[in-house]
Symmetry: C2
Subunit: 292 residues, 2 copies
């Protein structure tokens, strides 16, 4: 089958966009579209421009034997702000307050487009270059953790509350959850779930005192794994002192009786769209020269 | 900002592809790209061709006041077969067999790219035109259910095993799980999770006797909701008689001591890429005529 230029570009965008952080070789595209390497290199420059111009992320090349092109999802600061402001408006609806001071949020955090956007924001603001896994604890954090893992192109690991006989030898641990009153809970993970000496990113939906995240860090240490980044969707303003230090949170929340004070945690965000154009463009041209 | 044709096409592909089943008006694109409607209409024809030629799904138009263009994810029969054959090969590795005859599968079903593909396959083979929600039960089915919900552009609802005080008034129920020995378990869902008279799609990772799905159907009926489609990832060949009738399964499995017999359930798949080109192309041209 022959493809027109416009068709090739559309197809390349689709392939890269569906597979964040996955490397595609030039040969992959030349085979797919029955086209010369120089042609594909030109296509890739256009593709790169589309992503940059519309702040959809970055397309970069990796040189060397295992080299190729990959798409890195990046959200811009302005886009994060707009998205999170919209969420905060929904969250601050007083009808969300349940007895006990809890907030009903599952309609939002289970929404695939919300989870997907949260995943891209975490991937844009946590350094995962060295990471082997995204780790979360069941249940509410799973959708956003999965979308984070998708954006980072990493496997997802889910810590369970109960021991599952159906998953083989399991390492279990207790931890102190600080949900208003102090409570001892358990978490468990199959031995096979992590390779030795792994580096992991922790993702969870909600942090009050930080007891759950602290428990997850301890469990990772039992596995000989190192936590190199932590993202929580909502953190509460109280207590100000959390049991963990290094984390980012996207939204800060305080519930005072019938009043919900909620705002985007804008200090979290890096702005990723600056002065990177020339360097990347240059790299893409290089790859075509190398291989021809 | 001005965009070249190739850039517009790349950007339209990205926007449609990131938002399956979401309708974008022509005006959305004319504003975004500062271009005339006739120009965007021509772009959309190219975009449509890209999707058809590479079997990436379909781009169709909806006429009327709420009309516009949307992308419907569709996987081809050949693609499903190749993907599921690859998974079956991994599943049939004897080292996956755990004591008790269980299979270790979480590395596969939590993998974001696997879950994403399963979601697209469910969306290609279950009719969700009338559906309001995708419903699953925690925990293992969540990743594939989320990706199904994403492909269908529907909210996700997760049934919990325990009652969560933090989610408000909850409807709970017991059901009989047929995991080797008969066992009574419970499931619960917040009252607010479903609107009255909803139509839902059930998604789960594994079906042996069908007790869990049957329980989910009963719970949906308690909510006044109707199940209009059910997808399970793996169903066992035994028992042949399941407690539910209308479902599709992607893989059939039998474990006999140390032997794992597993194969794609190919009778499940419709082939969606036939004789639809002319009709769709015509619709896209219509929209441009209407609005100019």
């Amino acid at each position: 089958m022959k493809f027109k230029r416009t068709e090739r570009i559309g197809a390349i965008v689709k392939i890269l966009s569906d597979n964040p952080n996955k490397i595609f070789t030039l040969s992959y595209f030349t085979n797919q579209f029955n086209a010369a390497k120089s042609t594909i290199s030109e296509d890739l420059l256009v593709v790169k421009n589309v992503f940059e111009k519309l702040s959809l992320g970055r397309v970069i090349t990796i040189s060397g034997a295992a080299g190729g092109v990959k798409y890195i999802p990046k959200t811009s600061k302005a886009e994060n702000e707009e998205f999170l402001m919209g969420l905060c408006e929904k969250i601050s609806d007083p009808s969300r307050i349940l007895s006990g001071g809890f907030l009903y949020l599952i309609d939002l955090i289970y929404d695939p487009s919300v989870a997907s956007k949260i995943g891209k924001i975490f991937a844009s603001n946590i350094d995962y270059a060295e990471a082997d896994y995204v780790v979360t604890m069941e249940t509410k954090g799973i959708p956003m953790a999965l979308m984070t893992a998708k954006a980072m192109n990493l496997p997802l690991v889910i810590i369970r509350k109960d021991i599952k006989v159906s998953e083989g030898p399991t390492l279990s641990m207790t931890y102190v959850s600080g949900n208003s009153s102090t409570k001892v809970e358990s978490m468990s993970l199959p031995r096979k779930a992590l390779k030795p000496n792994s580096k992991v990113i922790l993702i969870d939906d909600f942090m009050r005192g930080g007891g759950t995240i602290k428990g997850m860090v301890d469990l990772m240490n039992e596995f000989g794994a190192e936590v190199i980044g932590t993202g929580v969707f909502i953190s509460t303003t109280n207590p100000t002192e959390k049991m963990v230090k290094d984390y980012i949170s996207l939204i800060e929340l305080d519930v005072n009786g019938n009043e919900i004070i909620v705002e985007p945690n804008l200090k979290t965000f890096k702005d990723e769209y600056q002065n990177e154009d020339l360097e990347v463009e240059h790299e893409i041209e290089d790859i075509s020269d190398d291989e021809e």
